[in-house]
Symmetry: D2
Subunit: 109 residues, 4 copies
Amino acid sequence: MSDIEEILKELRQFNADRDWDQFHNGKDLAIGLSVEASELLEAFLWKQPEDASLDKIKEELADVLNYAFQMADKYGFDIKQVLLEKLRKNAEKYPVEKAKGSAKKYNEL
Amino acid sequence: MSDIEEILKELRQFNADRDWDQFHNGKDLAIGLSVEASELLEAFLWKQPEDASLDKIKEELADVLNYAFQMADKYGFDIKQVLLEKLRKNAEKYPVEKAKGSAKKYNEL
Amino acid sequence: MSDIEEILKELRQFNADRDWDQFHNGKDLAIGLSVEASELLEAFLWKQPEDASLDKIKEELADVLNYAFQMADKYGFDIKQVLLEKLRKNAEKYPVEKAKGSAKKYNEL
Amino acid sequence: MSDIEEILKELRQFNADRDWDQFHNGKDLAIGLSVEASELLEAFLWKQPEDASLDKIKEELADVLNYAFQMADKYGFDIKQVLLEKLRKNAEKYPVEKAKGSAKKYNEL
């Protein structure tokens, strides 16, 4: 079993044990993910990047990944496929010759 | 090679080719992740969950996963380990006997 | 003195008393605002709109307004002017004949 | 008429003309506000605070204020009262003697 499949199996069991799938519509999952993304962001508020607490980053990033994996599973998206496909699209939006060493958005390249 | 390791390898190559690691401090990665989480959320704005565009959800979820994987890699977090550890902590915050069928937050159980 | 000017005067005094202006660069103010917007959003997570706590909504909305007013003041934007200007632009993007009764985004009208 | 009341009057007219109040439940307004807060945040992504575009900041801050004013109006909150009340609470959480010159959160003072 792949790592990703192992994680999904545990997530599904966790939700099934608690009968939580009834609450997990896409809209609320997206809200939950956004809320956790902001909790992760809060680790850096008023701080230099290197001064943020590693424990807090790990804690909140885990919550973000939790929601992201659940959303992918709910919609039947293959996480690896979806990520690699996006990288391919990004490679076209940000060709190496134009994008190398630049932080510009694709429509400003 | 595990799925996760395969994805990380491609992400690292993508960033190395474009000499982008120089921009990837934790604070900006967290901002990027939050921005993408909101673009995912926007798919559901004014809509019933079932009316959101699947293509848009897949597109934006891929961007969220992209940032989340990059952040984990930057800090050297093992994605599977971090996720399963969080599930264990959540199992204690939300014991099945108390949390089953309830949408209450752990401090309201 | 207008209401808005009265609020800004209190906000400026609050920050000056605590010598906090040194921290208030636009990037961190924007992060703070986003974090509070998510705390407001969390009031509705897993809930029907009408079941969200009014106290929590008022609490978090106050924090959002606090940051929004501070950002406007930092950049010298006239809050009323900026809002009414935006309404005028929105009126062009969403002409009554096309937009009435519709939740569609302007590029889908 | 106060500045705030003038703004609210225009916002109400804008929505009434377009028959949009039917969509404006608190949950979707909170989502909209969060989405705009992220668009504001995006102005600073990968950038030093002083390099963000002033036009973009003004544009997105106007959208945030738009949603914040609409939410306050929907729940019948007096914007000035709510803001000044929050400042008073914050003054207790962050007394000048402890908080002056410090970026620490209140529970770390």
